[in-house]
C-alpha cells in the first residue's frame, strides 16, 4: 500500500464543508496526488449533517478508506457523529467550543473558526476558508498552491471578494501557527509530475458520452443523476449537441428513441424512479431495434426511497424491467475512471447492435471525486451503426433477416430508405405480423445479438481480476463495491487467506467463459452488494447453479473492506458450507 491520508470534514450542510473538501482535492490533484472521495448529503434542502471524506495517496487507490486519520468538525453534532470513526492516534481539528478533549491516542486541535470568521473578518460564510487555512498549516500543504487556487476561483467575483477570502485564509494559517503545536504525523502525501483529471462519476459519464459522439441528450431532473444533465447543458451545445429537458422520464427516453432512430447518438440519465417509468420504452427500443444509452445512478429505493443515499438495488429492474422478452445490455462501471470506459463502450455496443444499453452507477460513484489518468480518453472503445445503402431498386427491409442479427439501418428521409419502425411485432419490412413464425424468428434475431455481444472483441477481458489466482475463496461483485473488495483482498492476504475476485463490467450478457472458469477454481463464492435481496447473487445462482454466500448492506453507504474481510474469514473457516457444484450455464 502507498502512503496515504484519510481526511474527513464534517459539519452542517451550508457551512461550506463540501467546498473545503473539494478545494483540498483540487489543490492536491495539481500536486499530482491520487484522490478518492466519498460524500454524504442530507435529504434536507438546506441544513442537516453532511460530510466529505477524502483519501489522498501517492499511488492509485480503489476506495475512500475506512478509519479516518484526520478529522475536521465544524460543530458538536459533527464531533459526536464522526469521532467513533477516528482511528487510534488520529487527529481532530474542531471548532473551539466543541466539547471534546485530548486523550492518549487522540490529538485535538481547537480553533475558534466561528469567532475568527464573524468578528475578525466580518463574514460568517468565510468560515470554511478559515478552516482551510488552519488545515493547510497542519497538513503542510504549500500555501502558495492554496492561494493560487483561491485567486483563480474567486477572480471572477471581483477584488473585494478575493481579498476577503485571502484574508480569511491567512487568519486561519496565523491562528494555527501561533496556537497549535503539530503533534500528529499526518501530512499531505507526496505527488508526482503526472497531470491528472479530477472529476465526479457523473462528470466522467457526461464527458465520456461527448467523447463517444453524443449529440442529443434528453433528461429529467432527479437526484443523484441531475449533474449529468447539468454538465451537458453547459458543455454539449459547445460541440453542436442538444440538451433537452423533457416533462418527465417517459418523454426523455422516448425522445432518445426518436433522435436515435433519426441517426443521432442519444442518451438519457436518470435514477431508479425514472428507470421504472422508462421500462416500457426499454422494450420498445429492443423491439424496434433502436440504439439508446440509459444511465441509471442508483439510490436507496423503492419508490422515492432515500434519494441522497447510495444503493445497488436496481439490478433486477435493469435486467428484467419491461414486459415480454426484452433483449438489452446492462453494464456497471466500478469507479469514476471506469465510468469513462463503460459509457463509451455503452455507445459502441448500442450503435453496433442497435439495442438499448443500461449503465448502472450509484450515488457513491456519481458524487465521488476521483483523479483520473488523462490518457484514458485516448483509449475509448468505438463502433458505429451498420448503415444501409438503399436505392439499388430493391425495396428496403429495415429488419432484414441475415446471418447476422444486425440489419443495416437507413436514415429516415433518405431516398429509397423510407421505412417504418414499430413496437409491434413485425416482419422484415416492419409490417405488423403476429404469426408464430415471424415472432419466433424476430425474437431469436433480437436475442442472438446478446450472444454476439458476449463474444465481441469490444467486451473481452472486461472483468477485473484481483487477488491470488489460485485462491479458494472467490468474491464476485459489481459496480462500486469493487473498491472495498480490492482492499479487502489485500487485508485477507495479510491474514494468510488466499482469495480472489472477479468483477464483470457487463452484467447482461454475462461473460460466461470467464465466470465459469472462475467458478471452476474457487470453493466458495461471496457476493457483496448494496441491496437487501442479494440481486446479483440471485442472478449468479440461477445462471450458474452455484451456491453463493451473500453479503448485503442497505445502510445507504458503501460496504467497508472489513465487512468483506469478515465474510472471507468466515467462509475460509466454515466447514459446513456446501462445496461448489458446477453445472455450467443454465438453460
Amino acid at each position: 500500500m502507498h502512503p496515504d491520508l484519510v481526511l474527513r470534514i464534517a459539519g452542517e450542510s451550508g457551512e461550506g464543508v463540501i467546498t473545503i473538501g473539494e478545494t483540498l482535492c483540487r489543490i492536491a490533484a495539481r500536486e499530482g496526488v491520487h484522490i478518492v472521495t466519498f460524500r454524504t448529503f442530507p435529504a434536507e434542502i438546506k441544513g442537516g449533517a453532511c460530510m466529505i471524506q477524502v483519501r489522498l495517496s501517492e499511488g492509485p487507490i480503489p476506495y475512500h478508506g475506512e478509519q479516518v486519520d484526520f478529522l475536521v468538525c465544524l460543530n458538536q453534532v459533527a464531533v459526536d457523529e464522526n469521532l467513533p470513526d477516528l482511528k487510534e492516534n488520529g487527529a481532530l481539528l474542531c471548532e473551539a467550543e466543541c466539547d471534546v478533549s485530548e486523550q492518549p491516542g487522540r490529538t485535538v486541535y481547537k480553533v475558534p473558526f466561528d469567532r475568527i470568521a464573524t468578528r475578525e473578518i466580518g463574514s460568517r460564510i468565510s468560515k470554511n476558508i478559515v478552516v482551510l487555512g488552519s488545515l493547510s498549516h497542519l497538513l503542510a500543504i504549500p500555501k502558495k498552491s492554496i492561494e493560487a487556487f483561491i485567486s483563480e476561483k474567486f477572480a471572477r467575483k471581483g477584488k473585494t471578494v478575493l481579498d476577503h477570502n485571502l484574508e480569511a485564509l491567512q487568519k486561519g494559517v496565523d491562528f494555527a501557527e501561533q496556537h497549535l503545536a503539530k503533534k500528529d504525523p499526518y501530512k499531505l502525501p507526496g505527488g508526482s509530475d503526472q497531470k491528472r483529471l479530477l472529476m465526479t462519476g457523473n462528470e466522467a459519464i457526461a464527458l465520456s458520452a461527448v467523447a463517444a459522439g453524443l449529440k442529443y441528450f434528453f433528461g429529467y431532473p432527479i437526484t443523484p443523476a441531475s449533474e449529468i444533465m447539468e454538465w451537458l447543458a453547459v458543455h454539449l451545445p459547445k460541440v453542436g449537441g442538444v440538451v433537452l429537458q423533457t416533462e418527465d422520464e417517459i418523454s426523455a427516453v422516448c425522445s432518445v428513441a426518436g433522435a436515435s432512430w433519426a441517426g443521432g447518438r442519444s442518451m438519457t440519465s436518470t435514477s431508479g424512479p425514472g428507470l421504472s417509468l422508462m421500462s416500457e420504452t426499454v422494450g420498445l427500443l429492443s423491439m424496434a431495434e433502436i440504439p439508446a444509452v440509459i444511465v441509471d445512478s442508483q439510490r436507496g429505493g423503492p419508490s422515492t426511497g432515500m434519494p441522497t443515499k447510495t444503493e445497488q438495488s436496481d439490478l433486477f429492474l435493469a435486467l428484467y424491467g419491461s414486459h415480454g422478452d426484452v433483449a438489452r445490455v446492462v453494464m456497471a462501471p466500478t469507479s469514476v475512471a471506469d465510468c469513462f470506459r463503460v459509457t463509451a463502450l455503452a455507445f459502441a455496443i448500442a450503435e453496433k447492435y442497435q439495442l438499448p444499453v443500461i449503465v448502472l452507477v450509484d450515488q457513491a460513484t456519481s458524487a465521488r471525486l476521483e483523479t483520473i489518468d488523462p490518457q484514458i480518453l485516448d483509449r475509448l472503445p468505438q463502433a458505429s451503426r451498420l448503415c444501409a445503402a438503399p436505392g439499388d431498386g430493391a425495396p428496403y427491409a429495415r429488419y432484414r433477416l441475415t446471418d447476422s442479427p444486425v440489419s443495416p439501418a437507413a436514415i429516415p428521409g433518405t431516398e429509397g430508405g423510407e421505412h417504418m419502425v414499430t413496437g409491434m411485432e413485425h416482419d422484415e419490412f416492419g409490417n405488423f405480423a403476429c404469426d408464430d413464425e415471424t415472432h419466433t424468428a424476430m425474437t431469436v434475431k433480437r436475442f442472438r445479438k446478446l450472444d454476439e455481444i458476449e463474444n465481441d472483441p469490444l467486451t473481452q477481458d472486461l472483468c477485473t481480476r484481483l487477488g491470488d489466482e489460485n485462491g479458494e475463496i472467490g468474491v464476485v461483485t459489481w459496480g462500486s463495491t469493487a473498491g472495498p473488495v480490492e482492499e479487502a483482498l489485500a487485508v485477507a492476504k495479510g491474514l494468510g487467506i488466499s482469495a480472489q475476485a472477479i468483477i464483470p463490467r457487463v452484467l447482461n450478457p454475462l461473460p460466461h467463459k470467464e465466470l465459469k472458469a472462475f467458478f471452476g477454481k474457487v470453493k466458495r463464492v461471496i457476493v457483496p452488494e448494496l441491496n437487501f435481496l442479494g440481486q446479483f447473487a440471485s442472478v449468479l445462482r440461477s445462471t450458474y447453479r452455484i451456491p453463493t454466500i451473500g453479503l448485503t448492506k442497505i445502510k445507504g453507504v458503501p460496504l467497508e473492506p472489513r465487512e468483506i474481510v469478515e465474510k472471507i474469514v468466515e467462509a475460509a473457516s466454515a466447514s459446513n458450507v456446501r462445496s461448489m457444484k458446477r453445472y455450467g450455464r443454465a438453460g
Partner: protein, 349 residues
C-alpha cells in the same frame, strides 16, 4: 370555448356567483383561530412555499371539515414529511411525482364510497392535492388535467417557485424566459431559459375547472378567501400560489415582501380568479389586486440573481416585457369597466 365575463369589482372577493353565501373574510391581519402547518418543517429561511401551505391549511380549517391531502414529490413534500407533526390533524398521502391528480381522484372516490356506506359523515371532508410547479406543469400535468376533466370535487394547489428546487434548481415549464437554472444555464451559446413560460390556470380552465385562482402569501387575506372558495365551490378547483425561493432564485432571504411586491407591480404575477357558470358556459374573471404603479419587468429582475445574465441583454428583457403586456392586455375590459384608465405607457418601458 367559454364566454368571458369580467367582474366589476377589483380586489379580494369573498363572494361568488357559485355560492349562496360569501366565504369568511379573515381581514387584513388574518387573525383567525385555526392552526396551519405545525412546527417541525424543514423549509429554508425565506421560503414562500411554507407560508403558502400554512395559509392554505388555516383557511381550509375554517370550513370545519377534515382535510385529506395528497401531496406530490417536491420541496413541499420533503420539508414537511420529515416530522409527521408538521401536518397536525391533516391526513396526508404522499404519492409519486407524476400522480398527485390521480391520487386525489382515488381519495375522492374512496371517501364518497365511505359516505355512501355511512362510515364517514356526508360533506365532512375536503380533498386537497398539492404539488410544486415541476410536479404540476411537467410530469404531473397529465394526471392533473385528467382529474379536472373528471369533474371531481376537490382542490389542487400548485406551489409555484418556477423551477425544480428540490433536485437543485433545474428549469421547469413554469420557468420564466431568460432565467438561469442548472439546465438552462446562461452562457455564450445558450442564454438562459429559451422556452416560453406556460400558464397553469389557462390549462385548468380549458380542461373544465370550476374555479381557478392565482394567489400569493403576501396577500394572505386574498389567498385565504380563495382557498375557502375553492373548498366550497363544487367541482375541480385549482389554486396557484406564487412561492418565493431564495435558494433557487438566488435572492436574499429577507426580501420576500419586496420580491412579491415587485412581481405584482411589474405584473409578472397577477392576482386573479375565474369561476365557471356551467349552465351558460361563462367564466367570470375577477382581478383581485390592481398595482398602484406599473413598473417595467427590469425592476423585478434586480433582486434575483437568477436573472443576472438576462439583465445585460435588453432584447431578452424586452421579450419578457412583451409576454407580460400580452397577458395584461386581457384585463383591459375589466379595468375599463371599473372606470380605470388603460395605461399604455408600461408597454414602452
Amino acid at each position: 370555448m367559454y364566454k368571458v365575463l369580467f367582474n366589476r369589482h377589483i380586489g379580494p372577493n369573498p363572494h361568488s356567483l357559485l355560492l349562496p353565501e360569501p366565504v369568511q373574510d379573515v381581514g387584513d391581519y388574518g387573525a383567525i383561530p385555526t392552526t396551519g402547518l405545525m412546527s417541525g418543517h424543514q423549509g429554508c429561511v425565506g421560503c414562500g412555499m411554507v407560508t403558502g401551505t400554512n395559509q392554505v391549511l388555516r383557511a381550509l380549517k375554517l370550513t370545519g371539515k377534515h382535510v385529506v391531502a395528497s401531496i406530490g414529490t417536491g420541496c413541499n413534500e420533503v420539508i414537511t414529511t420529515q416530522n409527521t407533526s408538521c401536518w397536525g390533524d391533516v391526513s396526508v398521502d404522499h404519492n409519486n411525482f407524476p400522480n398527485t391528480g390521480a391520487t386525489l381522484s382515488g381519495n375522492i372516490a374512496a371517501l364518497s364510497a365511505l359516505v355512501q356506506a355511512g362510515a364517514v359523515a356526508p360533506d365532512s371532508t375536503v380533498n386537497l392535492g398539492m404539488a410544486g410547479d415541476g410536479g404540476t406543469y411537467d410530469i404531473g400535468l397529465q394526471a392533473l388535467l385528467a382529474w379536472i376533466a373528471r369533474g371531481e370535487d376537490g382542490i389542487y394547489v400548485c406551489l409555484n417557485n418556477q423551477a425544480y428546487m428540490n433536485t437543485g434548481v433545474q428549469g421547469s415549464s413554469a420557468t420564466p424566459i431568460g432565467t438561469n437554472t442548472t439546465t438552462t444555464p446562461f452562457g455564450k451559446v445558450i442564454r438562459g431559459n429559451q422556452r416560453r413560460q406556460q400558464y397553469l390556470l389557462d390549462l385548468a380552465l380549458a380542461a373544465g375547472a370550476s374555479y381557478v385562482a392565482a394567489a400569493c402569501p403576501l396577500f394572505h387575506r386574498d389567498l385565504m378567501i380563495k382557498t375557502q372558495k375553492a373548498a366550497a365551490i363544487e367541482g375541480p378547483c385549482v389554486l396557484e400560489i406564487y412561492s418565493v425561493c431564495p435558494e433557487g432564485w438566488k435572492s436574499d432571504t429577507d426580501v420576500f415582501h419586496e420580491i412579491t411586491a415587485l412581481a405584482l407591480e411589474t405584473r409578472s404575477w397577477i392576482l386573479y380568479e375565474a369561476e365557471r357558470e356551467r349552465k351558460s358556459n361563462a367564466v367570470l374573471f375577477t382581478l383581485n389586486h390592481l398595482p398602484k404603479q406599473y413598473l417595467p419587468v427590469s425592476e423585478y429582475l434586480k433582486l434575483q440573481e437568477r436573472f443576472a445574465g438576462m439583465r445585460e441583454f435588453p432584447e431578452i428583457v424586452q421579450q419578457a416585457q412583451e409576454a407580460i403586456e400580452a397577458r395584461w392586455a386581457f384585463w383591459r375590459p375589466a379595468l375599463e369597466a371599473n372606470g380605470i384608465e388603460w395605461k399604455e405607457e408600461a408597454r414602452a418601458s
